[in-house]
Subunit: 330 residues, 2 copies
DNA sequence: AATATATATGGAATCGATTGCATTAGGGGC
DNA sequence: GCCCCTAATGCAATCGATTCCATATATATT
């Protein structure tokens, strides 16, 4: 690869002048600029990003942390992030935390060494107090997951509303025995906590007492959903509806229900969360909460780049719309 | 961040000695080594990867090109690649080609500037003649997709066998009117071509003439599958079975069949390809060809790192097993 | 005409590591 | 006691860019 010195030599100018041309600095005569541009062209020169990086320039690389890329919600998010980043000339480094605190921190360390300019966290495993110190090495933007103080730029959805809409819909369908299922723990913070609040609010408004036996925590996969259905079948007093924290769990429930000849929604109404492609594939099709993944990814990249290129930009929280999509499972 | 000079100063040694300790060179006395290690510990020092990179060291970053990350086949592949890379201390840069030649090349360019040590291509859009020149800047490994000469390290499956198994299975079920559906074009190369060969071989062995009206090319999504079913419905002479190039297309066919009260497999038997999670979610569950994504990703990383750390390693092709999984759709 | 200001240009230091070469101190062989 | 070799160490160059500072010229201001 040609270096800046090669260009300098060929064009008969100094490295300084070449660098000025590259970076569009003022005070370069038109004549020399053209000489330099011609030499660059001739050599097929592109500046070495590593060298620039060492000088403390931007790396044009953004890191993204997801819990698991195979979860369609996150692969859709990564998809929109990558596309938006590419359009702006940025690269995307991904890491899966697998919900592991140590791995999350290992990845945040890339900020320290200027391996990435900023990191988009789509999930938070460590406490914010642990993560916060890293913000001084680079921009950390929270997308999807969030903390309950305005400490970092955030792109989020009104999770409380999401859960509220789902539960209210079940109530309106006449259900009183409603089970609730969440990915986190019941006393979680951030996203999980807000969903729980929405659940509680809707139940309270409908004057229904929450039955703790119908609360399932830490549920994520199709497999988890299948197990939930089996547990419900074993209950003397069964719920007539269930709100799940994810389409995958809902899918597991529906699939297992079929095995046991339970009719959905007659015997059990099911609400998912995410509006993943499987929601339309399931039979019956899944009523679920739609999160605009594409918008979230795009907006995250836009805000991130704005913050990087203009560090004095004010830190803000952006809230995107969240909606209930009624299909056949309720 | 602490630099090597800080460590040198604190330990009272030269940068050279510190560097020797970091890189485990011989000729450092035990006494000084410990002094240096203590200083490193105290300062929380980690070498700056950017600076190392500039000196021509490895970047410990691997690039991965996928067509679309939202395709579960590829997100599973990326998942296993990322996990394996993390275990070896490597980072993963991803790019989606979206089947776009220019974007594929843009990403290959990262090799030139030593932004990545090597690239794992899970799909090939440009002709190999265009890609080949990039191999001199870094390692290019083909995983999943491949070319028909042994020009690069490849991790592949016997695609011919995959298609052959699927078609043969349909033949054994008594089908004679078999439709065939592929992601590429019918005269493709690499993966697509080999699948076509398997199809042709199985048909020939069963003495069935291929009906060109039952060949569908360039099909990828659930939506495509739905359209295919509608086209079949409009035919006077309908196939009784269809082999699809992907579970997604198969899903579209099954979903749309349900809309038109067509029974599967009675009216139309369907074979997918990939064994994605939806294969088990669909009703009826999908008979499909299982590709070991996890093994492929893991093996790719292993071979890649071997080639990077030991450049004289011989270029080889690795073939992994491919199997038919019979479920309810046939 | 003298001075201030804007425009152009290049030399050399710098970022944080690695490494070739030179130097020194000991140990062994004769 | 002299020579040679090995082990241990550090100086300074290097990777490929950016940027501070000095300098030179042209133009504007008094």
């Amino acid at each position: 690869m040609a270096t800046i010195s090669d260009v300098a030599k060929l064009s008969g100018q100094s490295k300084t002048t070449v660098s000025r041309v590259i970076n569009k600095h003022p005070y370069v005569s038109e004549e020399k600029r053209e000489l330099v541009l011609k030499a660059m062209e001739e050599l097929g020169y592109t500046p070495n990003p590593t060298a620039r990086r060492l000088r403390g320039q931007l790396t044009t690389t953004i890191g993204v942390i997801v819990p698991r890329i195979v979860n369609p919600f996150f692969s859709y998010l990564v998809n929109s992030i990558e596309n938006a980043a590419y359009q702006k000339g940025y690269q995307v480094l991904i890491a899966q935390s697998n919900e592991d605190k140590e791995k999350e921190l290992a990845f945040l360390n890339l900020l320290k060494n200027k391996q990435v300019d900023g990191i988009i966290m789509t999930s938070i495993v460590n406490d914010w107090e642990i993560i916060e110190p890293y913000t001084k090495y680079g921009t950390i933007l929270l997308c999807n997951d969030y903390v309950n103080q305005e400490v970092a730029p955030m792109i989020r959805l009104d999770q409380t509303k999401g859960a509220y809409l789902g539960i209210k819909h079940l109530v309106e369908k006449g259900h009183k025995k409603i089970a609730y299922c969440t990915g986190g723990l019941f006393d979680a913070h951030g996203r999980g906590r807000d969903r729980n609040l929405g659940f509680q609010k809707a139940m309270q408004e409908a004057n229904i007492k929450i039955n703790p036996r119908w609360i399932f925590v830490d549920q994520h996969t199709i497999e988890d959903g299948k197990i939930i259905l089996k547990q419900i079948l074993e209950m003397d007093d069964r719920p007539t509806a269930i709100f799940t924290g994810s389409d995958e769990v809902a899918a597991g429930i529906i699939i297992e229900a079929k095995e046991h000849s339970l009719s959905i929604p007659q015997d059990l109404a099911v609400v998912g969360f995410d509006d993943q492609p499987i929601a339309e594939i399931l039979d019956p099709k899944l009523t679920t909460i739609c999160q605009p993944m594409d918008q979230m990814g795009e907006k995250s990249v836009k805000v991130m780049i704005e913050l990087l290129e203009n560090p004095k930009t004010q830190i803000k929280t952006y809230e995107l719309p969240i909606d209930l999509i009624v299909r056949q499972s309720t």
